[in-house]
Structure formats: C-alpha cells, structure tokens
Subunit: 386 residues, 4 copies
C-alpha cells in the first residue's frame, strides 16, 4: 500500500524531523521510539510500512531541507550522524517539495494545490496521499458567508474572495483531490461547515486538532488521576516557555489565544469544573527547539486538607511531534483504505483538541485507539473498503 | 447493612483521620472529597452507607482519640472545627477501642483478638466487621515453617512459638473470626501460604497491599503515559521526604526496603524494563504529617532526543489515606456480603503493591474497579450471597 | 524613644500581621524571627524597642482589626493563639485607627491626615511618628504640572485639583506633619520632584520602594552568583501566582506593569545585560495569602555549554513583609532621630526598587545596611541629632 | 610569566575540558565565559595570560586526549567544532602527558613524579608549575603515624610503607618539586600535618578543597539569604543525581560520605545551626556528564508561619569546573610569584570545603577574593616576591 505523505509546512522543524526520521526508519538507521503505531497493541497489517511512505510537501520558505536538517542537528533535535548518512534520500525528498502556491485568487491557489497533489500521486503510483498540516499556527479565522456550505463556498471562491484561512484552503484542496487530511495544528483547517460537508460528500476521512506533545499530554493523565481519586482541584496554572518558530508565532496574541484555549479544555471536561488559573505561552528565543512547561496544581483532599503538585516538562516539540505525524499518516491512510469517511474521532489520543471530543482522558483515548487499530487490522469497517 | 470497621493501629494518624472523617460524613458536617466510592461510577446500593459504619479498633498506645484528633487539627491535617463539633461521637468510638493484646503466647493474643472482634460484632448487631491494618510498617517477616500451611501454623501456635509478625497475627485472628481483612500497609499481613489457605477455607475476602497515596499514585499514571507514547524512559529517580510517625518508622532501613521495593514495582511492570535510578525515603521531622516527593524522569524520544520531566508532590498522607480506608471497608464489606472470597484483585486501584498484580496502570485499575462495583450493585457474583 | 508607627492601609493583611506581631513581641509571646533588626549585626541602642512602638493608621475599609486577625489566623498566616491572647491590645490599636480621609478637595484630605498624625503624636507623647504605606498597589500616576516643585504643588492643591495619587497625598501629609515616610509598595509615594524637594526642605528622611519579600529576594542573591561566576545568563523567566488582596489588585494590568518592571530591574543591573524572558503576575484566588513563584534560568558555562536552574518559592507575603515593616519603622525612626534627611539609600536591602539604587546585590546591600546601623548605634551622623 | 599547569587525572572529563578550553582561549576561538579571573574585578597584570599557560599531567588511563575530547563533544559538554579546530594543539598536550607512576614503593613513585614535574618545568622554561588534582575522589585516608610530621613521613616512606593516599602522594611530590598545589577534589591531598609542615618549610602555597560547582554554590548564596533575613530554616534536604565518572566513584559509600559532609558544612556554619535533612549523592548513568540536584528548604517566618523553597540545578560539572581549574592555576601561580606560602584562604570562593574556612558565604568569599587579587595586581604581599 504505497502511501504519500504531503506535508504543509514541509521545511519546518516538525516536518523536517518527520522526514529525516521516516528516511532513517526506512533505512534501518534508527528504531521507532516515539512511534505509537509500532507498539504491540497497534501495529499490524493494515498500516502502510515505513518503506511504503513517500514524502513531499509545500512550504512558503525555500531553505534547502538538508540545511534545515543540519540546523536541527546542531540544535540537538536530531543526531547529526543521521543527516550525514542520508544525503541522497534527503535530496530525493527535496525534489518533491513545491513552493506554497502564491499569487492569483484563492481559487487559483487551490487549483495549483490540487494539481500538485494529483501529480505527486500519479508520479509515484501511490494508492493515496495523506495531507498533514504542520505549518505555523494561524490566528482564528474571520467569519465569512462562504463558510456555511459547499455551494456558498464555491460561489465565494468563484467570485475571487479571500474566503478561507490558509489551513482551510489546504483542507479544501485536499478534499477536492480526494486526499485524507490531518490537522496537527490548532488552526481552523477543515473545521468549517462547508468543508465538513464537502468531506462527507467525497467520503474523505480527516483527523485533528493540535498534536498533543507536552504539557497537555501530562494533563491528560493527571487530570483523570485527580478525578478518579475524587480530589478537588482548586487551581491549575501553567506556563509554557518556547523558543523556535512555534514560539515566535505563538507570541502573537491571536494565535496564543487559540492554543491556550485548546490547552485548558482537557481540565474542564475531565474534572467536571474549570479550576482557577490559566495557561500562558511565552516566547523565549534562547530555549531554541526545546520547551519548558511548569504547572502548579492545588487541590483539597478529605476534610478539605490543602495539598499541591507541580511538574516541569522539558521537551523537544519536534522530536515529540514528528513520530506522531508518521503515526497519523499511517492510521489515516489505513482508515481511508478501509472506507472510513468524516472525522476520525478514534484518533483523539493524538490531539489536544480532538474532533468530536469523545473524552480527554489519555487512557480512554488509548482504549479507543487500540480498538480502532484492531478493527482496521481485522479488516472490519462500517463502510466498503477501497 | 450494619458494618463494623475495626482499625488495627486505631490511634494512629490515618486511623484517627478516618474516624473523624467517618463521623463528620455521618453527621453531614463535611462532603466526601477523596472518597472514591462516592463517585458516580462507583456508588450504589451494595455499599454500606456511612451511617451504617461502626468504628472500633486496637492500638498499642493509649493516647485518647480526642487528643490525637486535636493534634492532627493543630498540624493542619484536620479542620479543628470538626473535632470540636464531634465530642460525643469521638467518645463513643473511644469506648470501642481496645488495647492491643499483650502478654502470653501468640495463640493467646490471637484468641483475645478474636474475642474482641466477635464481641464488637455482637454488641452492635453488625452484619460483619472488616479489619483494616493501618498500623506502622513492619520489617520483612522472618521465615518460619509454620507459615507453610494451616496445620503447620496451628501446631506452631499451639507450641507457643512467636511464629507470625504482628500484622499476620491480626490477619489470622480476623480470618478466624470470620472477618474480611484489608492491609493498607506494606507489612506481611495475610501474605503467607498458611493464611491464604485458611482464608480460602473460611471463605474470607481480603485486599492489599500498601495504600497508594502519593508518589506511586502519580507514577501509576505517568509511567503508562510514557509507555503509550512509546517514549524510552532511561532513568526514574525519586526521593520521599516524610515527617510524622510513618517517616520515623520508615527511617528504619528494614521497613524502608520493603516500601521502596513496592514503590518501584509499577515502573518495571508498566514500562517493560526497569529504568535506572531508585527511590529513597528519608525522615525529616520538620515536615510533620506532610510529605514531599520529588521525581526526575529522563527519557528519549524520536531519534534518541533526550528530554526530562520532574514533579513535586506535597501531600498529607493521612488526608489521602483516610478516605481510601473507608472506601476499602465499604467495598470489602460489600464483596463479603456478595459471597466473594480470597484476594480481591479488582481493588488494585487502591494499592502500591496490589494482590495478584493484574496491572499497575491506574486507568486499567479504575476500569476493573468500576466493573467490580457495577457487578456488586447489580447483585451478580460467582458465589452465593450471604 | 517612644515611636509611633502609622500604617496607611492599616486593616490590610500586611498591616494586621505587623500589628499582631508587634503586640506579641511586646508581650513576649513570640520571638523575632524574620525581624532583621534583631540580628546581632544590626541590633543596638539607637533603635526604638518593640515596647516603645505605638501603632495607629488609616484605612478605607472598616472591618474590625480583630476580625481581620482572626481571618488571617484561619488562613494559616498567623497562629490563632496569638490573636486569642491579645484582645485588649488589639482593641487599643483599634482605637487608634482612623477612616481614610474622604470628601472635599485633596487639600482638605491632606489637612485631615496632618491633623490625625499630629493628634496621634500628641495623644501618646511620641518622639516621632513614622508613616508606612502598606496599602494596595496603585496604577502609575498621571503627570500633572503640580508635581514639578513645592510651589506648583501648593498652587494646584489650593486650586482644588486632584493632583496627587493617594500614596503621594499621604507622603505629602507625612512631610507636612514632620513625619518620616516609608513606601513599602511600588506606588508613586514620595517619588515626585515636588515631594522630594519638600522633604529636603523639612529635613525628613524617607525610604522605599516595594518591599522585597519573595521571588525578587531570591533573584537578588542568585543573579550576583551567576555574575560572580562569569556564567552567561541567557534567559530568566518567572511567574508569580498570588491569591489574597495583593493578587487581585495586581491582576489589574496597570498595577501589574509597575510591579513587573520593578521585579526585573535587579537582573539588568546585576548581570550587566537584560536576559530574555519576563516576569508574570497572575491572580489565583485559591492560593489565599500564599504566593508561589517559579523561575527558570538558562545559562551558558565554559565553551558555551547550556545549563539551567529553576526554583519554586512558596511564601506567605504577609508573614515575610510584616517584620520588615517593623524593621523599617525602627530604622527610619532612628535615622530621623540622628538627623538624617532625604532618601535613605542604605535601606536598599529591604526593597525591590531601592531609592538611589546603589546596588541590587543582597550581599552588598547587607554590607551597607550593617554599616548604617553601626553608625546609628555609634551615634555618628552627618547631621545634628534631634 | 610562563606557567605550567600539571593536571593529576589529566585525561578525566574536567581536565580534558580545561585543556580544550585553555587551547581554545589561547587561539581566540572562544570567550572566557565561566572564568572568574577574566571579570573586571579580578583580572590584571599579576596573573599569567592564557597564552602563557603550558599544560601537562599524569593519568592512570591512557585513552588519547583527542578521543576523550571527542567523547565529551558527543555528550554535549564541549562544542565539537573546537575539538576539530585544535588537532595540533591537542597533540602537543598529549606529548606532555605521562602515565601515573606505578610499581615500586611510594617513595619510588614520588621520586618519579618529582622528576616528571622538574623535567616539565625545565623542558618548557617555565617560571613555575602549579599541580592541580582533578582525579577521582578517594575514600577517607586511613590514619598512619607517618602523617604526623615531615620526619615521621620521611621515615615511613624510606621504610617502604604505603603511607599516603594517592592525592597526598602527589601533594608531597609537588611540594618536594617546589610546585604550588591545588586540590579540586574532596580527597585528603595536602591536609596532613606532615605535608602542611613541609609546605611551610619550603614556602609553597596551596589551595583547596573540592571545587564548588553546583548545588553547594547555590547553597552558599541561599543560606546567607535566609540568615540575613532572620528566617528560621527548619530543614534542608538535597539529592544529587550524577552520571559520568564522578558519579560512579561517588556511588562508593566511602567517597560519598566525604563529599556529603563537605556539602552540608556550608549550612551549619552560615545558619548557626544544622537544619534537619541531609544530602544524598546517587549515580544515574543515563545522566551522562550532567548532574541534577534538587533541594527542598522549609523555613519559618514571622510568628512561625511555615514556608518552603525548592530548586533544581541541571549543570554540567565539567563545564563548570574547567574554567575554575584555570582560574585557580592562574591565581595560585601569581600567589607563588608574590611570595605567598601556606594555605591560600582567600581562595575560599572556589571551594565547597575551603581551607581555613573563613566564611561560607559566597558574597563574603567574593569580597576576600577581590581584595586578594587587588593586592596581587598592586604588587603588595607580606612576603618577598620570587
């Protein structure tokens, strides 16, 4: 099952790490640490092998992939020896990267994207191409009447309107090209009525939003712990200090707001009430591609006794996100092959703000994910396979 | 369903907090924070109500219960207003406390315990009495041939041998008196072949070991998180700083060893390998009844990138343990009523070192506990109800 | 040397703790923990004894002092036994509290304040009265031509203008009444050219600004440590989570800005450059009168190796501030007695944003403070004693 | 002033980092971050320039220096580019390294060491050679009558006894060869009456003990902070997790004990009492050349209010120690040139367990160090220059 993985933001840190990692896995130069689809509970025949993945993508910048990989190696995100060992493989992916469509109307740019995707699929004889958005976080989208349904959208685009935020324009093109779509960012992406309806019409599965890589991952096990023990969480305050490109983007208050809201959701839904306190994101360039999050939880136990917990998470977002990008591409491809369409709510495990929000408890999300993978491997689905 | 709760170590911090809490709940002076059996997923008709609980117990010390409660209030473990509001209720429990049997042979002391338990049951017209060991942690038991089976044990006791450690002598008496037994400590308790066989013979259910109240509770959600994300935990080091009676006891290296081993077990079994590092317990009197644990976890992500997490837990062990003591008494009483016998492995949720060790993941233990409670409430069991 | 201490904000947490503490010290019910003027290096004959202090003050609220003290005891800030032991003494101070002047022009309110101060001094036969501002933090003052010099100020006040922020109106009245003035808050207070000139004219000493009680205290020893070791601090990020009245006030962005700026100053001046990162103040009501600050410092060592330090400070601001209020009252009174006038820059040890900023290193500030106290005790001064 | 720096343990992590750093500084490839002798308050004409330092040393292992440097680069301790840029310089130092003398009696091995030192001095036309012990920590020395005075020592050595621990044998040889001696480790070194007397006789200055690089550095500013604020420290507990060679050595309980004692001394002497709690050192191989220390301080403020502080220090010991090794070599050489002999107590700033222990406050140590440097630069000394 030859599968294309088309990365929107293909020269960013997450994408570059995904690409180097996929190439290294394919060449047997590294093991699958961090890839959940390689755990015994999830792996199986329905998933495309790493050797079946073909990588490509769009980006607005043009820095050569090899340069980006070297920079990440220098920053401690990647082992330099992997970059040095894979020059031909990186050059091959470089040839599959396209400039992000620019100029003309949104309709024109969508058409270019559709053509890039279909060319990529044809050129490599791929069974399907999964589009994964790993570009920078956008501000919240401005409302537009064209968001309401496919016809309104078609009319607005035909009229030359700038109707969609960039992530949604990619989602639109993906659906039009028959490609499953994964949104790894908190951007709008496919979350507009017009696009949801279009994906349903075309039988396209999609997944999102916002890869769960650090502080929220920890919250998604600690909040259920407090809930299961009937402990009364009074406050939960967090601060995220980020360097790297993501940090700079999120320093923009508009983008920050979207992210922060998605980060606190897990608490309200798991605890049954929203505790006091908030989450802050701050840009600290000196931290480079690493992130430090600190959280303080105050809670009451039996008879009201006050207690507290704090944790610090020092993670490398790219190293945490990249294997999940590959996991999502594999699972979404398998879901498409099995005939799934619409939101893949069983992939909530991967996201801060999962579609359909069935649960925010990591353990419950894991149980759902295992069941989903099991059904894929067993060949069962509600829909006809393709 | 009138249920006795007989506390071994009844004047200790955990027991005193349990007693004050049970009285306060019965009087409607406080809510059930920290009591998991009051969560929607667990509560139901099979459990005895707080108003149906009658408290008693043994202790080697004789400090009046009211004095112990006042000391705990001064230390911030309990609200002083509750102690002040419950003088008659505390006096009533005081009348049900007995000195720990002393003098004579172990057989003599077991006989006194059996008599105290049966008198208590008769005096209050109780359907059953659950014995809960909340006394200080013992050193590991010395082997004795009398541990092998009930006949060898009977012979050894008849011969006047000091064959059992104190926790096991209580477990023996409980079984002989037809009482379910819960071991909230890491002591030997019922974990001897002779006692296991005896409990099976008499149809007695039991639960243990070592209430999971702090650092291990956190480990039991974080370790599965790392496992589910396929992250490679390289080291997990912890230190526990404890004041209070438990701290002083655990400063004894023999007791410390038992506790530490039970604390690391969750890691090996959840992660599939034992990471580097260990757990230390240290006595710091100035911390009083509070405990501070600090853990450092180092782990590798995709392509080997090194990352780390640390957490600090500032908890009050008595406030965390006391509601679980009541939960365990209620659940074990209901299990006994439903005809369960032998180890209650579905209560693993409550313990650092659960009997039968079905799993060390808190989420999986929760799922089992919910199923168990559900079956109790539905009236179903494998055995005939009593 | 009978000395009045007039507290602006006399029913606030800091003032109430200062009052209870002063009374308890006077009665021998407690020791001088936290009072630096009782350390061997500082104590001596020039300072008024605790038994020579007479307390009074203004407040806009009217909650009885005893009620405030009981509330602080319930919150764990004060031992309840002290409040219970001092009913008559608290009632005596209660009689010395006056409502903050209201109504009329600023000139009218200043006149009332001057009269309250002189009445207080006369009523108790005091050698002098030190005015200490411990009221809530104000937003930055709006410029007004009347700030320029004493004449402009007199004219503006005579014209009925609302020319001064409240803290400065108190400072004005203090100077007019011949009282030394201490600003324990980051508010404007005496920092206006008109007031500085007036204090110089009248020979009034004053001290400030912003008591250094928590995170900044720690910074003032850690930043010099990094500097003395020639380590290159790259980023220093902090978050302060506060409940209590101060927290609510500082949630106001205008007040927050003043405080935050004063908190970062120590870094730039000690390190020689301002590292990346900032300090946040957030209001978390559940923390009550306690404050949790977390700071992350990243730094480079030899050959650029990246390292990091983090600290968490869990402090009770009132308990940290109150003894310093007494220290400042004693030192400022002694300075006044010795003939000092103008800014007391040798008291920088006590402040986040010290007047004259001779140094931000706590150790250097300590050396200066010790020298100052030594000179006071030795009777030496540049000016004639009064 | 051409100065030799003879490193005992010359292929260890600290020594290798010192060597690479000195070569890089000499070549202008790096700046002096971490070198306190390059701060404005300390630098001056009395100190040998980096270009005047010639490096050599002994080691029991024979791994090539370049290999050790590459390993440190791979571990993130050194930038690989520096190692790559200095092949000839490293080869030149390699030629100055000698195997640690082995075989024969201690007297024989001392003679070899003396000869190696004098050859080194003559070969390079050096004004003097400073011997710096950066080898692994030894267990406490066993008492021997030969430790009492120079004659007893001479007799014991002549008799073929193994009378001295290795660090002391090096100190003995250094003194015999007329070389100033610095002990950067907690080992015995020169701290034996016989050696102290011998150094006095020969007019040799020496410094030590135990470089202050991490947790103790922080303690030496925080403990004075608590003392200056008259806060009552109740407990101070610490844990040090170390990988690398030092960690493995210190896992030996005997060496651990020496180090731990030296780490707690600062508290007792600064606070005036020894708070509860202790310091642990644990070996965690996965941490590599980095060290994580965590400390919890609990303290009482005014009226007994309980508060707490914790800090985590993530440092690279080699990167912290190496520049101090160069600083100490420079300062000790200048002291020797200026005619100083005996213990250099003004260098306490650099050590956990300083000779003569004049003070454990970092700020006070800094003041002394600045005065010492100032006098050196001014040419003043009590003794005649050489």
């Amino acid at each position: 099952m030859r599968t294309g993985v088309w990365l929107v933001g293909a020269r960013g840190s997450v994408a570059t790490t995904s690409i180097v990692g996929a190439l290294a896995l394919r060449s047997g130069l590294t093991g699958p640490t961090g890839c959940v689809t390689e755990l015994p509970d999830l792996r199986g025949p329905a998933l495309p092998a790493f050797t079946d993945l073909v990588l490509g993508g769009h980006d607005v910048v043009t820095t050569p992939l090899a340069k980006r990989a070297e920079a990440l190696a220098a920053a401690g995100v990647l082992p330099g020896r992997l970059v040095a060992a894979l020059p031909d493989e990186l050059a091959a992916v470089e040839r599959e990267l396209r400039p992000a469509p620019a100029g003309g109307t949104q309709a024109d740019r969508a058409a270019v994207t559709v053509r890039d995707l279909t060319d990529f699929r044809r050129r490599h004889g791929l069974d399907r191409v999964v589009v994964v958005n790993v570009s920078a976080t956008e501000p919240a989208a401005r409302p537009h009447p064209g968001h309401a349904d496919p016809d309104a959208l078609a009319a607005a685009l035909a009229g030359g309107d700038e109707v969609l935020p960039p992530s949604s324009l990619y989602a639109y093109a993906a659906v039009r090209a028959g490609c499953p779509y994964v949104d790894f960012t908190p951007s709008t992406g496919l979350r507009l009525p017009a696009l949801v309806a279009l994906a349903a019409e075309r039988g396209i599965p999609y997944a999102g939003h916002d890869g769960k890589t650090g502080e929220t991952l920890v919250k998604s096990v600690l909040a259920p712990m407090f809930a299961m023990r009937h402990l009364a969480v009074r406050s939960w305050s967090g601060v995220n200090l980020l360097g790297g490109g993501d940090g700079a983007t999120l320093a923009d208050p508009a983008a920050n707001a979207a992210k922060v809201e998605s980060k606190q959701r897990v608490l309200g839904e798991t605890l049954g009430h929203l505790p006091q306190g908030g989450t802050r994101i701050e840009y600290v360039e000196a931290l480079g591609d690493f992130k430090t999050a600190w959280d303080l939880v105050t809670f009451a136990g039996f008879l009201g006794t006050g207690m507290r917990m704090e944790f610090t998470w020092h993670g490398c977002d790219s190293a945490l996100a990249a294997p999940l990008v590959l996991d999502l591409a594999r699972l979404t491809a398998a879901a498409h092959a099995a005939g799934h369409a619409g939101p893949l709510t069983d992939l909530a495990f991967f996201f801060k703000d999962p579609l359909g929000s069935p649960t925010h408890s990591l353990a419950d999300q894991w149980t759902r994910l295992c069941g989903f993978a099991h059904r894929l491997h067993a060949g069962g689905t509600d829909a006809a396979p393709r």
